[in-house]
């Protein structure tokens, strides 16, 4: 692109070379104006991602539902559930033969009367495919090949399968274990009313601003949630077949990054001029108060650092301070006691539950730090936090039975805090969170 020209003026070279790599520090606050704009433009992307996540969850749920439905329908249909071998000697054929309705029965040892079958197990000759098909042809009326007009067929399909297995094992006896098994399942349902579940989830927190003003915009645009986590143990009691109530104890840790606040060390060396007064910073959760007297805080892009010194008291440009970081990290820990109702929508091998309820959260830890060379550097605490918070939660629970007693749980959950983390005049910011809890439950 450069025009190589002998006539190129000396003055051009003077300016080109003289201004090459020249740097001038931009005015303070430029980044503060840029950041909210690019953040705002990223919000549709975040919304799209959330929509995509919801779509994926719904798709998985739908597929799982279809799968569980197919599984259950195949279990109800003996023609699909039992092996080909067992199908070839249907009990219905035996019953029909006893009534003298099947002409083929004379040629089929397997279709002689029950007494003979019980005493002579070794002489079994299974019917050919054609014979089997024709036997069905002669018994129209049902899809499954059972005689429609037979009064003898009063045994559930499941029991027939059990009887066939007994027949092949040589232990055939006209028992009703199958029927008893159904009773047993019902009894088991009654017995396993309690369950204990251990679950954990990464959680992402967002904030809903209830009043938009310059201060709240400035604060919210400079703060960013960090991935938090929650986990604990809960007990559930089955009130009815579909409804259960759940409660327990959870521990949750929430992180929040306050950007654009420069922190410097070495401030305690100037105590003789500034006194021992420490800093106060406005955040959406409350006011950060520094407890570390050696730290000096400066807001890059606004007025969130409430504490200021006039230059005659303390001039940071002349002081020998060491830069630490440009973000502060708030950490809050809560003990949660959820009271949750679960309604079973689908009761198959993969269960689906609707979950909703309230959580009572007790603040147990509150700290603020920054990071220097990968290590934590204590700053202080956030004041004005609500010690007791109530959140409402709703979600969807997917439960996959591993065995009679154990099952895997997956619960995408949305949670909205009814009261804000902290109280700052002019600010009403309500957090909400998304999490996908996963864990193991045991029925007893």
């Amino acid at each position: 692109m450069w025009s190589v020209d002998n006539k190129e003026a000396n003055i051009d070279l003077l300016f080109r070379n003289g201004l090459k790599d020249f740097e001038v520090l931009p005015p303070v606050g430029v980044w503060g104006n840029i950041f909210p704009v690019i953040r705002k433009k990223q919000k549709p992307v975040i919304l799209l991602r959330s929509a995509a996540l919801i779509a994926v969850l719904l798709s998985i749920s739908f597929l799982a539902y279809r799968w569980s439905k197919e599984l259950s329908s195949s279990l109800q249909n003996p023609m699909l559930a039992v092996s080909e071998e067992s199908i070839q000697v249907p009990d219905n054929t035996l019953i029909a033969e006893n009534q003298g309705r099947m002409p083929l029965s004379d040629n089929i040892p397997g279709t002689t009367d029950r007494k003979n079958q019980a005493t002579d197990q070794s002489g079994i000759v299974e019917p050919s495919d054609d014979e089997y098909i024709s036997s069905f042809d002669q018994n129209p009326g049902t899809d499954e090949g059972y005689p429609a007009n037979s009064n003898n067929i009063d045994i559930p399909a499941f029991n027939q399968t059990v009887q066939r297995f007994n027949y092949y094992a040589g232990n055939f006896k006209p028992d009703f274990e199958g029927l008893n098994k159904l009773d047993y399942e019902e009894q088991k349902e009654k017995i396993n009313r309690w369950s204990v579940t251990a679950m954990a989830s990464p959680t992402y927190y967002l904030r809903m601003e209830m009043n938009h003003n310059e201060l709240s915009n400035q604060i919210s645009s400079s703060e960013q949630s960090r991935i938090s986590y929650s986990g604990g143990v809960s007990f559930a009691y089955k009130i009815s077949k579909k409804l259960s109530i759940q409660s327990g104890l959870y521990y949750s840790s929430i992180g929040n990054e306050v950007g654009g606040i420069n922190s410097f060390a070495g401030f305690s060396g100037y105590d003789y001029t500034k006194g021992d007064h420490n800093f106060e910073v406005l955040t959406s959760s409350g006011r950060i108060y520094t407890e570390n007297a050696d730290v000096f805080l400066l807001d890059n892009s606004g007025d969130r650092v409430v504490t200021r010194y006039t230059n005659d008291v303390f001039d940071p440009t002349k002081a020998n301070l060491s830069y630490i970081n440009n973000s502060l990290f708030q950490n809050f820990s809560y003990i949660e006691m959820p009271v949750i109702l679960r309604y079973k929508l689908i009761d198959k091998s993969v269960d689906f539950n609707l979950i909703g309820g309230l959580s009572y959260n007790l603040l147990v830890n509150n700290s603020v730090h920054t990071v220097i060379d990968g290590s934590k550097y204590t700053i202080g605490k956030t004041a004005g936090l609500n010690p007791f918070m109530v959140s409402s939660s709703m979600g969807m629970g997917i439960e996959y039975s591993l065995s009679e007693k154990f099952s895997l749980n997956l619960e995408p959950t949305f949670r909205y805090y009814l009261n804000p983390f902290g109280e700052i005049p002019g600010l009403r910011i309500h957090p909400y969170s998304f999490g996908v809890f996963s864990g193991l439950s045991y029925k007893f």
Partner: protein, 186 residues
């Protein structure tokens, strides 16, 4: 120090810290470019803000080919051009006055003692139309044909504006050099 490719990745993922890092790493150099293209600090600040917003918006189009700093500089220059076009979209009579560009080789002067900040001050004192052409031709290296398309003027006007800019600059440089020498000797 994090690699620029990692910073870009972080910015694209919406990482606020990487976005701020990208800004802080290049802001001083790009602000100097903004000052070079503007007559006052407010305008330079606007160019920097708007330019950076475009940088973040178009970051996905950067293919890791060529200098990233050069890519950012082009965006800043284009932003300055847009600002210029929005303010100077009307032709003036004197824009089409052509003056003869000096054929002779430029005089060699002793410009020792002039610092970058002096050069910046001098260039910012130029009228906007001369400053724009001089910057695009002498600093960025565009041809008169390209400049004519960029700021919607004829090639002749571009050459004429460049000549006038050079004359003014030479005078001012002499003045500054003289003043500096006076200060040193006096």
């Amino acid at each position: 120090m994090p690699d620029i490719r990692n910073i870009i990745k972080g910015c694209l993922a919406g990482n606020r810290r990487d976005q701020e890092l990208l800004y802080r790493r290049h802001a001083a150099k790009l602000y100097a470019v903004c000052l070079q293209y503007s007559g006052n600090d407010d305008e330079a600040r606007d160019i920097l803000q708007e330019g950076y917003i475009k940088i973040f918006e178009n970051l996905i189009t950067y293919k890791n080919e060529g200098s990233f700093e050069g890519w950012m500089r082009r965006i800043i220059v284009n932003t300055a051009l847009e600002k210029y076009r929005s303010k100077h979209n009307l032709y003036r009579v004197d824009d089409i006055d052509l003056i003869q560009e000096p054929d002779a080789a430029p005089e060699t002067e002793d410009y020792a003692g002039l610092e970058a900040v002096d050069l910046l001050d001098i260039i910012r004192e130029l009228p906007p139309k001369y400053r724009m052409v001089f910057n695009l031709f002498a600093i960025e290296g565009y041809s008169h044909k390209e400049i004519s398309q960029m700021i919607k003027i004829s090639e002749g006007t571009s050459k004429s504006n460049l000549s006038r800019a050079r004359i003014i600059l030479q005078k001012k440089v002499k003045l500054y050099t003289g003043l500096k020498k006076d200060v040193v000797s006096g």
